[in-house]
Symmetry: C2
Subunit: 492 residues, 2 copies
Amino acid sequence: MSTDIPGAPPSTGATDTVSPSPFPGTSSEGPAGPPLDAVLDRARAAADEARTATPAERARWLSAVADAIDAAADTLLPVAQRESHLPDTRLSGELRRTTFQCRLFADRLSTGALDDIHIDHADPDWPMGARPDIRRTTVPLGPVLVFAASNFPFAFSVVGGDTASALAAGCSVVVKAHPGHPELSRLTAVTARTALGDAGAPPDLLQLVEGEQAGADAVQDRRIKAVGFTGSTRGGRHLYDLAAARPDPIPFYGELGSTNPVVVTPAGWAERPEEIATGFAQSCTMGSGQFCTQPGVIFVPDADQFLAALPPVTAGPMLNERISTGYAQTLQELSARDGVEIAQRTPGGEGRPDVVILRTTAEAVRSDPSLITTEVFGPASLVVGYRSPDEIDAALAGLEGTLTGTVQAGRTDDEDGLRMLGLLARYAGRVIWNQWPTGVTVSDAQQHGGPWPASTAPTTTSVGTAAVRRFRRPVAFQNVPVAALPPELRDA
Amino acid sequence: MSTDIPGAPPSTGATDTVSPSPFPGTSSEGPAGPPLDAVLDRARAAADEARTATPAERARWLSAVADAIDAAADTLLPVAQRESHLPDTRLSGELRRTTFQCRLFADRLSTGALDDIHIDHADPDWPMGARPDIRRTTVPLGPVLVFAASNFPFAFSVVGGDTASALAAGCSVVVKAHPGHPELSRLTAVTARTALGDAGAPPDLLQLVEGEQAGADAVQDRRIKAVGFTGSTRGGRHLYDLAAARPDPIPFYGELGSTNPVVVTPAGWAERPEEIATGFAQSCTMGSGQFCTQPGVIFVPDADQFLAALPPVTAGPMLNERISTGYAQTLQELSARDGVEIAQRTPGGEGRPDVVILRTTAEAVRSDPSLITTEVFGPASLVVGYRSPDEIDAALAGLEGTLTGTVQAGRTDDEDGLRMLGLLARYAGRVIWNQWPTGVTVSDAQQHGGPWPASTAPTTTSVGTAAVRRFRRPVAFQNVPVAALPPELRDA
C-alpha cells in the first residue's frame, strides 16, 4: 500500500512538522507532548504489564476500544472526512471494518484460536536419545512501533490492523501518526486510551507520536522490539534500513508496493466482456485508486476491444497534495517509456485526478519488465495487450512480489486461467479467480503480503487474524513444573 | 552457536580458500567445479520442480537421503573424525541425530502435521461486509542458501537442520560448505545428491559451494530467496547485513551468539550441591564447550562453596586452530575486566584447551552487563556469586537474547526459582528447570532461537519441525475453483 510517507531524508515533509497536542500521551514532539524517551519508557512499562495479562483480559481491552470508537463515530467521522477528503459512506464502512477487526481478534483470543502451542511429553525411547518434557508456546515481543498509513485513516491508522494485532499479541504499541490526518489520529488515540484505562488496562498500551524524526528515532531505539509499517516502497525501505542497521536488528513488517496484475484469458473475455470491463473500471478507480490492491496492470487478449468496452469513470479527490503530485509524476514517467502510450485520459477537474488508462504490449513488457512492476498510486492502470497466452508467461517472468494476482477466466475448464493462476501464485500473497483484488476482507484465512516489495517479511500477513503471529515469539519450557507453566501448556 | 565463520571482510580465512572438487555439483570455485552462476540457475530450476512435488514425494526424498547417509556411515565417520577432532561416539550420535531429523520431517510431511491452512467459506453475513471464499495455505520460498557450521559436522552442516527443513518445505538448497570439514562436506553432498536422484528427485535440490566469496555472492543473488546460517555473531552479522542491503531484501535466519545463563537458587543449592556442581561441569565442557547452548554464565548463592564443589574436568581438542585462538583471546579479554578473576584453570596440554572458570559478583554484572552477554566459545564459564536473589533480578536486566535460560531450583515450592524462570523467559528461546541446556532434542515442541543475538529472526526456530515454517510463505486463494486449489485446500 503506497501512501505519502516519505523516505530519506526523514524530515522533509512540510505537512509533517511538529504538532503541539492538547492530549497528554498523544504527541512526542509538540511543546505540549512528552519527549520520545518518556513515551518509550512508558511503552516498556505497559508491555511488562500486558505480558502477564490473560488472553481473556486482552480480549476485553480490544472490545472496549472497539466499543469506544463506535460510540465516538459521530465525532470521528466528520474530522476524518475533512482531513482525508474521502466520502462519508466509505469512511463509515471503514470505521465498521476497524472496530470489527478489534472484536475479531478479541473473539479469537477468547477461544484460544490464536494459540500456537505444542506439547512433547518426555520420551525415554525417542530415537535420537531420551527426550525431556518440552512444551512450546509464544510470548509477546514487547513494545511495537506502528507507522500509520494515509489511505485508510481508520483501518490502517491509529487503531488499525497493525495496532489491533499487536495489542492482541500482548504488546504495547507506539503509533507514529500519519500527518495526513493529525486531528483524527489524536482523537482516535485519546478515545482508545480512555477506553483502555476504563477497562483496567494500562492506558499506555497505546501511545501516539508525531513527526518523522520521532518515528525514525523510535525505530532505532532498543526499547522498540518490532515495527509495523504500511506505506510507500521508498519510505518503508528507509525505515527498514534503519531497523536492520540497529546493533540489535528487530523484525520490520512493512507492506510496501504492489501492482496487482490481472490476467483476462481469451475464454474469460469471450464470455463476459462487459462484466470484466465494468468490474475493472470500478476496481481501478475505487478510493481514487489509492488502494494497495488497486489493479495497476491488466493483460487482455484484445486491447482495442477492451478499451472500447471500458465504461466512463471518474475519481474523487485524492488524499492530499503530495499523493496528487506523486501520481502525476509517476504517470508521466511511465507513459514516456518505450512502447507505452496513453490510451484514455478522463479529466477530473476541480481538484480531482484524471483517470488514465495506459496501453502497451506483452512484447514490450518482456523487453522492459519494470513496466509491470512500477506502481502508480492513483486511478491509473496499464492495459497490456497479448496475442497468445504464451506471451503472458514470458511477460510475468519479470514480475516481482505483489499483494495480489487476479485471473478473469471462463466459467468452466479454462486451462489458460488455471495455468495463469499458478504462475501468479509464485509472486502473489493472494490469488483471485473471477473477482477483483480491491476489498480485502478481514478473516482468519486472509493473507495480505507477499515477496518483496509487497512485504519486507514474506512469511507473514498484515491483515487477518494470522497477523498476530508477527508480534509473538516461541518459547519452549523444558521439564518445567506445572506452577511455572503458562496455563495453555498445562496438561488438561 | 559460535563457530569460526568469520565476518567482514569475507575472504580472509586461510583455511577457506578455493578447493577444487572432484565431485560434479559440489564446488563453485574450484577449477573442477561449476561457476556460482550455473549453481544458482540449477537451484532455481530444481526449486521449480520441487514446488509442484507433493508432501509425500518430499517425504520420500528426505527418507532416501537419510537412508543413504546411514548406509555411508562407515565412510563418513572416519573423515569426520579426522577433520573435526571430535570423538567417534559423539560423531556417530550426531549422525544418528542427522538422519533421524530427516526422517522426522518426512514423517510429519506424510501426516500433514506441517500444513498451515485455513479455510473461510463465503459468508454473505460477515459483519464487515459479504466475505468471499478464501483459503490459505503455504508455498515454498524458492532456493535457500544454507551456511554450514563447524561444530556439528553432520547435524548443522550439509544435511543438517537448515537443509532438512528447507527440503521439507519444498525448496532447493545451496549449501556453503564449512571449511573446517571440506572432505566430509563433499562426501555428504555426493551421497545426498545420489540418493535424491535415485529417489526421482532433481539432484540439484542440494548443491554445495565452497569459499567465502561464493557464500557472500550467493547471499546477494536474486535467485536466492532465504538464508539459513549457524555461526558466530560477527560472521552472521556480516551476512545478515548483505541480505538486508539487497535491492530485494530476503529473510535471513541466523542463529548467532548466546551465553545461556543458569541460575542456582538458594534452595536448589541447599538440596543438591553435588548434583548441580557435577552437572554444570559436564555441561560446561561437553564437546569442549563448543556448543551453542554451553552454559557460559552461572549465578550461585555461594561462589566459594560452588567452586570448591566442582569436580575436576578436562576437555578434548578443539575443532580447529582458529576456534582455539579465538577462545584464548576472548578469555583473556573477559578475565581482564573489572571485577572478574580466574578462579580455576585446568591445563589441557597436548593440543587440548585449558578448562577455565572465571568468577565475578552480581554487583559487578550490574555495573557491566556485558560480563554476561560476552560469549566465550570453548570450555569456560563465568561464576556469578550473589548475596540475595534480588541481586539476580537486577543483574539479569542487562541480559540480551539468549538461546536458553536455566534454573537449578529446589524440588518443591521454590518461589525464587519460579520467579527466575519467568525472568529468563523474557530473553530466552527455551527455559529449563533442573536440567542442563546442552543437548538440544529434535522434536515438534523444540524451540532454538530467541531475541538478537541468539537469532536474527526471533519469531522462528532453527531446530525442530517448526523450522520448516521459515521457508514457506502464505498464499490465499480467493474464489478459486477446485481444480486450481492445492489438494490440502479442497473441501473434504
